[in-house]
Amino acid sequence: MQLSNTPQQRYLLRIADAALILSQRNSEWCGHGPILEEDLAQANMALDLLGQARALLTQAGLPDGLDEDQLAMQRLEHQFLNPVLFELPHAADGRQPGDFAFTVVRNTLTAVWFTLLWTKLQSSRDAEVAAIAAKAVKESRYHLQHSADWCVRLGDGTADSHARMQAALERIWPYVGELFQADEVDAEAEASGLGPSWAGLRGEWQAQMQAVLAGATLTLPKDRPNAHGGRLGVHSEHLGHLLSQLQYLQRAYPGGTW
């Protein structure tokens, strides 16, 4: 698939793919949640993310005459531009259905990030993007409330739950840096008024995370250098497996509908 790959398109795809891939990941809990109510909650929130992804993919595809389905189902792995953080499996050892502590930690730090991002995107010079953000910010605020609540309950829970939460935080931390790396796509979006530079969100993100983690009696890990390049299409080994499930139907039956 040929994409025009303008900085504007890449900026939108980075956000759309973050939402799409996290949606797919979190929907893995469907039918496997730790309790019935949380099973539903994860599915509900995954559907919110899917809706956000659909809207942004539609926007991103306009210049190339591509629709949301083509972008989601027919792009190749290196054409996905989500940060690596979003594609990591729930458990490091491949255990199914996954490590719920990791799910909670990732959902919390991505919800803080999404909330900051959507808040700023509400004043995008692109009226469509601003409208998408106005709807999405309500969803991400709820995701944050829900996830931060779990974070505090498990972090400040038993010795066992605390240890699992801290371990999940240590596991995810090296991937956080990519969320705030400045590059030309970021700078161009900020300059043109399309959306905020992600790099500029770091201070506020860190402050909010610190508050949540303090309430959860968890310790902020040290920043570690990393070289993850999901936003440039350079992914971990996990994305290909995820896409093989996500895209299976359209690969097996191109254009299939029901």
Binding site: I35, L36, E37, E38, L40, A41, N44, Q145, H146, D149, R153
Partner: protein, 97 residues
């Protein structure tokens, strides 16, 4: 597996579907405390736009009538139709009573 001691308490959930209407009982769920019960009620009972407000109350705080006393409690009302205000003519301007 959780033992009886570790089980979360049961909560009854009431949802108001529109401003101005009553909260209606719609089901129950397990949750460790009231805040979580409200959040889970939101997930389970309002995901199809069912509500604008949620109440939860611990099931153990609800005092119920004894099903065994159904006869003596409710049957005596059976033949007292005069308790219904059906013998009054309502002005046509009154739509719903």
């Amino acid at each position: 597996m959780s033992t009886t001691q570790n089980e979360w308490p049961l909560w009854e959930v009431f949802v108001r579907s529109k401003s101005g209407l009553d909260h209606k009982h719609c089901g129950s769920l397990h949750a460790p405390d009231s805040a979580f019960a409200v959040q889970m009620a939101r997930e389970v009972y309002t995901r199809r736009q069912e509500g604008v407000s949620i109440w939860v109350v611990k099931s153990e705080h609800i005092v119920a009538s004894d099903p065994g006393e159904k006869g003596q409690l409710f049957d005596p009302a059976d033949d007292k139709v005069y308790r219904h205000p059906t013998f009054y003519k309502l002005p046509s301007s009154v739509d719903h009573m």
